[in-house]
Symmetry: C2
Subunit: 193 residues, 2 copies
């Protein structure tokens, strides 16, 4: 199935970006990782590697937004807990050998397009996270600033835990972030959490 | 001067790591960037690229620790402001085209040694930052957790500001972090800040 091959290649590119970085994510490594036939490259990605990387960024963004869509009615604290839980699962599920594909692209991009596509994904992600925090009880400005802090601190903590092969940097940051959200909820004028 | 060539090559490697990532930091790009003679490679770095990258990580760590050493007597809030100021200078000084060499190494390392060296640097950096925050008035446990949060959130915010070529993600996170530190200082039993 043609669609299946493309999806498999995109998933392989996401995995390679998250584990080995942008330069190690090439058509040959993706083919080796997924077993896709060589002819799939020009059939599915006539735009070359930039098109493959952009598709991997789009898949990363969709995955992040889908996780946030899955919890209607969640409180701001539940939103933060679930957001941090997904990062924890990424780290421990890959034995500390995987991080965020968007970071991998940003720090090694040698053409503007993939970096700009990563920037769009960062924006979409934190806007959706801010909306969830707002729906969960935080005021708009506070939800936006908190979404930015949650995303930035998680990204940085994941890099440290990955470097150190140790969950402690991530858990320390996660605990600080949950305290931050709890304090905001407690400060709300009429909270019934 | 032999020492001068080596220092120039290490500085070039730091710059390339921060701007283009680990794979783009090769002996040929460092030679092109610094004008060092080709013979310098085996003379100064007989261990090959890993040795060059490790020296670049050591230089990054030394630079970070030196900045923290430069403010004896600073309050915890001043320490946080100065720490964030150094990141802001990195972003704006390089027109949003540079980040942290330690992140670049961690997300793209294909051998364990450079990643482990980056892990050591992360640990040394936040221990020094925690000590400065403790000397600036925070209790030990609070200083340690805050150092972890400051470093993680700055790293992540720098990646987002870099991707977006926009200071706003960084500034939003910086403001949240300063509020966090201010709240901790206000909560101290007997503060005279």
């Amino acid at each position: 199935m043609a669609g299946g091959v493309r999806d498999r290649m995109v998933a392989g590119a996401v995995r390679l970006l998250a584990r080995r970085g942008l330069q190690a994510t090439s058509f040959s490594t993706v083919l080796a990782d997924t077993g896709a036939p060589r002819g799939s490259i020009y059939h599915h990605f006539p735009g070359g590697k930039d098109e493959l990387v952009s598709a991997a960024i789009a898949a990363t963004e969709e995955h992040a937004l889908r996780l946030l869509d899955q919890q209607p009615g969640a409180s701001a604290l539940q939103v933060a807990e679930s957001f941090l839980g997904a990062w924890r699962a990424l780290l421990t599920g890959a034995d500390f050998d995987a991080g965020c594909a968007l970071v991998a692209v940003t720090v090694a991009a040698d053409t503007p397009h993939p970096r700009e596509r990563a920037a769009d994904a960062f924006r979409a992600w934190r806007h959706r996270l801010a909306r969830a925090l707002n729906e969960g009880g935080l005021e708009v400005a506070s939800a936006e600033a908190t979404a930015m802090l949650l995303l930035a601190a998680s990204e940085g903590a994941v890099v440290m835990s990955r470097a150190e092969r140790d969950i402690r940097p991530f858990e320390t940051v996660a605990a600080e972030l949950l305290t931050h959200v709890r304090n905001l909820v407690d400060d709300l004028p009429a909270h019934d959490a």
